[in-house]
Each structure stands twice: as structure tokens, then as C-alpha cells.
């Protein structure tokens, strides 16, 4: 039965069967569903391409940063995509909305990162639709861990590593007026909650210390900043990163390409508009040449 109109799968008559079978034993697991549908979750790489030992380096040319501010989390990334020393794209979106109250900032292999973000988005929706309740915060974190772990072999081969920052707003955080949460992942899928900020990517080393400084000694603590203050801080940080890291882009005044800045708050994920960014950018860089 060619009920999907899928030419690649013209011979696969098992589709309906799998769905019926699944229907009897379901726990809302989208990855299992994809496996039953024979979706290739892993890319098979011939073993001779595997690199060994110390030269394994996860490519992560970018700078993404998340900051806990007064209303929740502000999460941002530059727009540059590179291959080696070439800039191949200057409008890459590295901060992706996953559901109403979560966003993922990615560093590393874009192909795998976008796939992880897409699976994540569909997994949360599938869980809600099939189980008639939202996946819990812990469930969402584990799902991302699992996807990163499934990708481990690619990461070890130095071709598909992904290190994301996951920002969520926990509506059930009753003991804390600010439900914003920032999680940082390692290549094995372990997640750590970052209280004030997180940054990853090749440019992150240049701004991590600044963030620590601001968080501890800043005039206004990061978590007390309003949206404008947080945005200005983030724009400045990305600008610093772009000065020292060739794989991170700054603000391109000629064509007005701004970093992607999103807020994750009680009302949901919102993308800060270019107009706001332009105004704040002028404040952030009072002496910048237009």
C-alpha cells in the first residue's frame, strides 16, 4: 500500500502493519516509532574513516550563549556557518524553538544538530498527542540526552559532534518566581543545569570569563537584568567573541544581519525583532561605525 506517496519506500508494505502493532503497545516514544518505520536515525560511516586518539576534535565553530535574566532565559547565537576557513553562509539560525516553552542553541555539525532539533520537536508533540499530557521537564532533558548519545559514534569520528544548550521555562517551578532553566550537555549526553549562564562553541572561551565576571561582580547581576539590559549584554558578548574567533560573526552593518536572540519566558518562546536589536545594538556599541 503506497499510502505515504514515498517513492523511496515503494516496496515497503509494512507501514500500516507497524502502526497497528504499535497501537497496541504504546508509550509515546517517538524514537521507537521511527525505528519501526525504518527511518535511518544513524548515518553509517565506513570504519576506515574513523579518526583515532588525540586528533579527535569536535567541530563547533560558532558562539551561542544563554543567560538567565529577570523574565526567564535569553538565548542567542551568531549567524556564521563555516567550512574550514571559508565562510559558507552568514544567515544560519543556530537558536531553534522546540516547543512553546523551550529553545535549543546548537554548536557543532549543522546537519546532525538540525536533525536532533527536529526529532526533539516531533517527539514532544508526539508524546503530547499520544499520551494526552505534556512531557515533563525531566523527560525532555532525557530525550535530548538520548539523541546526543545515539550520535556518539559520529561525534567520535570528528564529523558529527553536537554540543547544544537547552533553555526551558518551567511553568511548575512553584518555589522559584523565575522558571527559566539553562542546561548544558557534553558529547556523551550528560546534562548539567547552569544556574546563571551557559555558552558553547569555538568563540565561547573568549566570553565565558566575562560572563562569570558579570554574574559575580557586575553592576546589575545577570538574573536581575531586564530584557533590554540582557540583550545589550548578549550583543556585546557576541561582538567580543567575533573579534577573537574567526568562526563567529559580529553584527554586519552593511546588510543588517543581526544575531538570533530569543527569549524563553512564562508566555513562551519569542524572537527579539530586528528593530529592537538595531536600537539596542546602537546602545551596545555607542561608538560603532554605521
Amino acid at each position: 500500500m503506497h499510502d505515504k506517496g514515498d517513492f523511496l519506500n515503494l516496496s515497503g508494505a509494512a507501514h500500516q502493519e507497524f502502526a497497528l502493532q504499535r497501537a497496541i503497545n504504546h508509550e509515546g516514544d517517538f524514537l521507537n516509532l521511527l525505528k519501526h518505520a525504518n527511518y535511518p536515525l544513524k548515518v553509517e560511516v565506513p570504519p576506515e574513516t574513523v579518526r583515532h586518539g588525540a586528533d579527535v576534535e569536535i567541530a563547533h565553530s560558532t558562539t551561542v550563549v544563554a543567560v538567565l535574566y529577570r523574565d526567564g532565559v535569553m538565548i542567542a547565537g551568531d549567524r556564521r556557518a563555516t567550512a574550514g576557513t571559508s565562510v559558507i553562509y552568514d544567515r544560519a539560525e543556530k537558536v531553534l524553538q522546540i516547543d512553546r516553552h523551550s529553545a535549543l542553541a546548537i554548536s557543532g555539525s549543522p546537519a546532525i544538530a538540525y536533525e536532533i532539533a527536529r526529532i526533539l520537536e516531533h517527539s514532544f508533540q508526539y508524546f503530547r498527542r499520544s499520551q494526552l499530557q505534556e512531557l515533563s521537564l525531566e523527560g525532555k532533558l532525557r530525550m535530548l540526552s538520548r539523541l546526543i548519545r545515539e550520535n556518539l559514534s559520529m561525534a567520535l569520528q570528528g564529523i558529527g559532534g553536537v554540543i547544544p544548550i537547552f533553555a526551558l521555562y518551567d511553568l511548575n517551578a512553584s518555589d522559584d518566581p523565575n522558571g527559566g532553566k539553562i542546561f548544558f550537555y557534553d558529547a556523551l549526553g550528560a546534562h548539567f543545569e547552569n544556574v546563571d549562564f551557559a555558552t558553547t562553541g569555538s568563540g565561547s572561551i573568549w566570553i565565558r570569563g566575562v560572563l562569570r565576571y558579570l554574574s559575580r561582580f557586575g553592576e546589575t547581576a545577570l538574573h536581575e537584568m531586564d530584557q533590554r539590559q540582557a540583550a545589550i549584554t548578549i550583543l556585546r558578548l557576541l561582538d567580543i567573541a567575533s573579534e577573537y574567533d574567526a568562526a563567529t560573526s559580529g553584527y554586519n552593518a552593511k546588510v543588517k544581519i543581526f544575531p538570533t536572540v530569543k527569549t524563553v519566558t512564562r508566555i513562551g518562546v519569542n524572537t527579539v525583532s530586528d528593530d529592537d536589536l538595531a536600537a539596542w545594538y546602537a546602545e551596545a556599541q555607542p561608538n560603532a561605525e554605521e
Binding site: G5, Q16, A19, L20, R22, I24, H122, Q125, Y126
Partner: protein, 256 residues
């Protein structure tokens, strides 16, 4: 049994009678469009009856809860996988009902030795750039019925006809707002509920329409041990998923 055609037809007829008898008392479902989208309404007792299938598709059914669950999962799984493998915009209700659900319904119905699905299903699809809004109903025998503006499912043919008559008589303007659509759907539901509570012989002969006072009496009685459940698909809904359930507060507001 196959070598005796008459007995096969008889068995099918028995099965039809049996299923209709089982469905007769089911709480009907009404689907109507309004200015901001479309709605599915029923009155349920505990078990949820209106579901989100995909970004622009909602589902409701009457029948045996186990069958509803099984077929709901069939269509949810299929839509989720298809939406992931292609793009969510490529999901369309026509393909889901005609290639996935209807064949499953028909096969179960006509396999005399196997179990039958005791179910009638109503699905709603919110129009997008590539297609118009539509309701698609599937009968337990796999017959599919499509309607662009309103649709009902009730236990029997007579119940459904009575409900449709009321909807047809109501103003069909698409400008009605959420509250008006809610009231229209709820009144239509009351007619279906009233008809389903009569004896089979009565419904054949009696007048199928009841007045508004009677309608709200039926609704009040039903609300004593159940609750009004309304699922809407709204074009203006933030994000890609257009489905939401009305809150109990919204329902109270619409009632007053």
C-alpha cells in the same frame, strides 16, 4: 461461510445491527466551523473524547473506548511519522482517512470471524494554503463522508439525520463567532442525545425536533455526571499546532 453467500450477507447484517445497538447510547459529537476556525463538541463522562492528531487535525469518536484508543493511535502514529519524514504541511486528512483508517475499518467489519470495531469517527482538518477546511466522518463499515461546513456523528442514522436537520436550518453563515458556534453545536448535541434516549420504534415516527427549553434541560441533566468537552482548531493559534481544548472557564462564559 464463504461458500454460502446468503449466510455471509446475513452475518454482515447481524453484525451491523449489533454494532448500531452498541453505538446507540453513545454521546453524539458535533462539528461546526466559525469565523476563527472549527470546533468539535461533545459531552463526555470522565474519558476524554476529543483529541489532537496533528498540527491541523482533530479527532473525536463514539464507540468502545478500546477501539477508539487503538484507531486513534493508528492515525496519530501514521500522521506523526509522515509529518516527520516529509514536512508537517504534507499531512492531509484525505490520505489519512482513505488510505489508513477506512481500510482498517472495512477490513475489521467484514472479517466475520474476527472482532469488529465498535466505532464511528469524526475528524476535522483546518484549511491551509494547500486545502480547505473539512470534516470527514468514517462509519464502522469504512464508508467515508466529507463535509466542508458541519458534520455530526450519533449512534444511528435517525439520530444523525435529526441533528443534521437542525444544523441545516440554523444560519449557515461562516461569520458566527466562537460563542455562537458553541451554542449551535451544544443545541445540536442535545437533539442527538434526546433522540438516542428514545426507544428505537419511537424515533422512527416521532417529530425529531425539540424546543430550546427541552434542549437545555437535556444539557443540564447531562452535565450532572459529565462535562462539556470542546476542541478547537484555530488559524490564529500561536505556533504550528492549531489544536486546543477550551478551558472550563471559557465553556462557562459561553454558556452564560
Amino acid at each position: 461461510m464463504r461458500d454460502e453467500p446468503y449466510r455471509w450477507i446475513e452475518a454482515i447484517q447481524d453484525r451491523r445491527d449489533y454494532i448500531e445497538d452498541e453505538l446507540r447510547l453513545g454521546s453524539p459529537v458535533v462539528g461546526v466551523t466559525y469565523d476563527a476556525g472549527m470546533m468539535l463538541l461533545t459531552v463526555s463522562k470522565g474519558q476524554r473524547k476529543i483529541f489532537e492528531v496533528h498540527d491541523r487535525i482533530a479527532l473525536s469518536a463514539i464507540g468502545h473506548p478500546a477501539d477508539i484508543e487503538r484507531l486513534r493511535m493508528l492515525v496519530t502514529d501514521t500522521a506523526s511519522v509522515q509529518g516527520f519524514q516529509n514536512a508537517t504541511e504534507d499531512i492531509n486528512l484525505h490520505r489519512l482517512t482513505n488510505y489508513t483508517l477506512a481500510p482498517a475499518f472495512k477490513q475489521a467489519f467484514e472479517s466475520i470471524a474476527g472482532e469488529a470495531y465498535i466505532i464511528k469517527m469524526l475528524l476535522a482538518e483546518l484549511g491551509s494554503a494547500s486545502g480547505k477546511s473539512q470534516f470527514i466522518g468514517i462509519n464502522f463499515d469504512g464508508i467515508v463522508r466529507t463535509d466542508p461546513s458541519f458534520a455530526v456523528i450519533g449512534g444511528t442514522e435517525v439520530i444523525e439525520t435529526g441533528m443534521q436537520k437542525y444544523l441545516t436550518a440554523a444560519k449557515t453563515d461562516a461569520d458566527r463567532d466562537l460563542t455562537n458556534a458553541f451554542r449551535l453545536a451544544l443545541e445540536t448535541w442535545a437533539i442527538g442525545k434526546e433522540l438516542s434516549s428514545r426507544e428505537p420504534e419511537e424515533t422512527e415516527s416521532e417529530e425529531t425536533q425539540i424546543d430550546t427549553t427541552q434542549m437545555y434541560e437535556v444539557i443540564e441533566t447531562a452535565r450532572e455526571d459529565g462535562q462539556i468537552e470542546v476542541g478547537v482548531l484555530e488559524t490564529a493559534q500561536h505556533g504550528t499546532s492549531k489544536f486546543r481544548l477550551l478551558t472550563s472557564q471559557e465553556i462557562e462564559d459561553a454558556l452564560s
